[in-house]
Amino acid sequence: MLTDQAGKGVHHDTPGPGHSAQNSLRTGGNLLQLVSPEGERISHPEFDVWVKDIGDEQLCSLYEDMTVIRRIDAEATALQRQGELALWPPLLGQEAAQIGSSRSLRDDDFVFPSYRESGVAYVRGAHLSEIARVWRGNASYGWDPLRINLATPQIIIGSQSLHATGYAMGVQLDGANTAVLAYFGDGATSEGDVNEAMVFAASYQAPVVFFCQNNHWAISEPVRIQSHVQLADRPTGFGIPSMRVDGNDVLAVMAATRVALDRARKGGGPTFIEAVTYRMGPHTTADDPTRYRDPIELEDWAAKDPILRLRKLLEAKGLLTEDVEGRVKAKADAVAAELRASCIDMPDPQPLDVFNHVYSTPNSWIERQKDHYSRYLNNFNQPVEEGAL
């Protein structure tokens, strides 16, 4: 090490508690895979141990969650086309990355998502109406972050990585053993915020996991133009170890996330995970990927579909019984129906609601603005109601 030998950042090379996994973390540019696209279980000397508790029941449960969030995505997309949602950012194709990572978290861990992690929100326990209402334009937030330890969706690209790092530094000050996880995409790794977050996370050895879903497209910008090295190589320049995993392989994602969370809890510092996956839908419902994307590329990735892959594994193990299939379908149907009903029956916010959550405590200036606006609205001789929020 040529830089400041006494500095905190150099310690990540020192063997010690939580640091032992350091070198083995490096997947060396190889894609960590525990289930092949054909549904075969691939054994791995280092990572198998991290999913050895995942038995038949858990595999079926992962399959259910992945199927359900795909259904949420399909229903929400339909609701947008029917004018019930203003916008929707599809997660189609990223089910394994979202379920594998979020199912590795503890309830007391804190998660900072981008806007595409609706599957993560479902797993964390957000109500379907809470997931829908931001996209319906009825609220500027979805759920109470402190109830499910999940921050509200961040539209600004990558800024949640700073929030996560700051929260993780707070965890350190508290002496807690919770971990923090930030989701972002391939495009975000080109943003200043993510790079600054990595600087601070490395400097303070903050207990944060940077979970990058490389879905290959930053709207219409392909990842190959954004980065001439693999995204997993970017954090190593900050002294943050990284793993590159098959993001369509739910077990590989789980293993990698568990390794990273374990490092964080044990004081091992930050970890970067590049989950290589693919955004099979448009960037949002307002986007047309056929204008910039080769359909052959989509076909290639359809062959690596995360749910199909898990199905094949379950079939090979004889687990995909009629009972399981029926249960998963019934669950998906029920969730879709609830999402639809809760979305359509959602009360509209009222004009004065906008003042309600600016401050958590009464604020005279906001009260004054609210009063002025209320009197302005009264000019129209209409009753002004406070609405649902």
């Binding site: 339909a78 029917q82 949002t284 986007d287 056929t290 609830e338 029956d345 009360p347």
Partner: protein
């Protein structure tokens, strides 16, 4: 109870702040039974082609718009006959909360005739950031009033009222509107592309919103062609004047009545040029290049212009200036499926013969495919129209607006010709040159045409001109 009711599906804003979409095709017909989320239509917005899933399970009662129609957001496009009992918009009752199902009929303010509309409420106008302020207020609530709203698991959702009246509060008086003329980003871009200053365009939309049509009407530019079916009326066919035809007509009228045209003709023996063309075609270094009489003639025009720059100029009426171009953007009139267009080759005077040949091939291929971009259509300085391909000898071409000269190339045909006082069969071609007499005197025009003729009858004459 098998009572049914009619439900309308209004075209929603499918992007972020879109005002209209075109119905490309219907996937269902009247009388068809549809399931929830079944694809019923394909529509094209300014952003994408998308499939519309049905918001109801029921029977298609009416399709209100034909394929090919551009429909404003909020207009009904299809009506369904649905079971009264199944009128929960296809969704099952929420499974959370106190267990009392949401009374759907109560949440709807039934419009006359039991028609309930879903989709984009008509009163909300899409604007820059989605749905914005309502501009006009009718004094009556038209939004769906909500029934007893069920708590959906969030402690923060606790509406007191069972019916939330439409509030005038969302109205914004025009006085509050920013000073910038109201329009949408695509319209502002259109205005920029057409060189229209939005400040001077009267807006006819709600609250003075400047619409696409306003800009187009102001500039006289063509609307994106929606092929309206021609009205067949027995012995005559009436087609609305619009699109490229309208634009072409406006340009022609403007040109013909702005620039005083003079047309001159010259018929020349181009046997030597045709021989040269044959030699070049056989030359290995031109292998793969598409060489035609137009290629050589275009090069000849470019060479002849060097000594007669006034033909490559513009009359700038507004600034009372004559603009002399020190470059040549060579326009080529092209007949395309959409009508006449004159795309131009930028800086054509700097191109070698090979480069010019490639540029001409690209230009015509692009034009025929209907993919010519607006930038390729603007900025031309002088033009050629190749009427010879239709077997025509000569004509009086009308100047491309803003340009000082246009050359029409006639057909190359064998004809009796006097060579060394004897009659011979030669290949001859007529050249027609129109020029703007404000800029170009007869002498300059005539000398240019003579030089052009000299090159084509003896390509070696180029030696004397460069």
């Amino acid at each position: 109870m098998t009572a049914t009711m009619i439900k309308e599906f209004r075209l929603p804003d499918l992007g972020e702040g879109l005002t209209e979409s075109e119905i490309l095709s219907w996937k269902v017909a009247v009388g068809d039974t549809v399931t929830l989320n079944q694809v019923i239509a394909e529509v094209e917005t300014a952003k994408a082609v998308v499939e519309l899933p049905s918001p109801f399970a029921g029977t298609v009662a009416a399709l209100h718009e034909q394929p090919g129609t551009v429909v404003e957001v909020g207009k009904p496009i299809v009506s369904f006959e649905v079971d009264d009992a199944g009128s929960t918009n296809g969704g099952s009752a929420p499974s959370t909360g106190d267990g009392s199902a949401v009374e759907t009929s109560a949440k709807s303010a039934p419009a006359a005739g039991g028609v309930e509309a879903v989709g984009a409420p008509a009163k909300r106008e899409p604007n820059l950031v989605g749905y914005g302020a309502v501009v006009e207020h009718t004094g009556r609530p038209t939004r769906r009033a909500r029934g007893q709203v069920q708590e959906l698991g969030s402690a923060t959702v606790a509406p007191e009222t069972s019916v939330i009246p439409e509030s005038a509060a969302v109205a914004t008086p025009e006085a509050d509107v920013a000073e910038r003329p109201r329009s949408t980003p695509p319209v502002r871009k259109l205005a920029r592309d057409l060189g229209v200053d939005l400040q001077s365009v009267p807006g006819t939309g709600p609250g003075g919103l400047i619409t696409r049509e306003d800009v187009q009407n102001f500039s006289g530019a063509p609307k994106p062609a929606i092929e309206a079916p021609a009205t067949q009326g027995g012995r005559e066919t009436r087609t609305p004047i619009k699109g490229v035809r309208k634009f072409t007509a406006a340009a022609m009228v403007q040109s013909a009545f702005t620039a005083p045209h003079v047309t001159e003709f010259l018929t020349v023996d181009v046997t030597a040029t045709m021989d040269l063309l044959a030699r070049l075609k056989g030359n290995k270094s031109f292998e793969g290049y598409k060489l035609t009489p137009l290629t050589i003639a275009a090069k000849a025009v470019l060479v002849a212009l060097r000594n007669h720059p006034t033909l490559n100029s513009r009359w700038d009426e507004a600034n009372q200036e004559i603009v002399q171009f020190n470059y040549v953007n060579l326009g080529i009139a092209a007949a395309t499926p959409r009508g006449l267009t004159v795309p131009n080759i930028k800086d054509a005077d700097r191109l070698s013969l090979r480069e010019l040949s490639t540029a001409l091939t690209d230009l015509t291929d692009t034009a025929r495919a209907g993919k010519t971009s607006p930038s390729e259509l603007s900025g031309g300085t002088v033009s050629i129209t190749n009427i010879g391909v239709f077997g025509i000898d000569a004509g009086t071409p009308i100047l491309n607006p803003g340009e000082a000269a246009i050359v029409a190339l006639g057909a190359v045909r064998k004809a009796p010709w006097v060579v060394n006082d004897e009659l011979a069969v030669r290949q001859v071609m007529s050249l027609s040159l129109s020029f703007d007499h404000r800029l170009v005197d007869g002498e300059q025009g005539s000398r240019f045409l003579a030089d052009l003729g000299a090159i084509l009858s003896d390509p070696a004459m180029v030696m004397t001109m460069i």
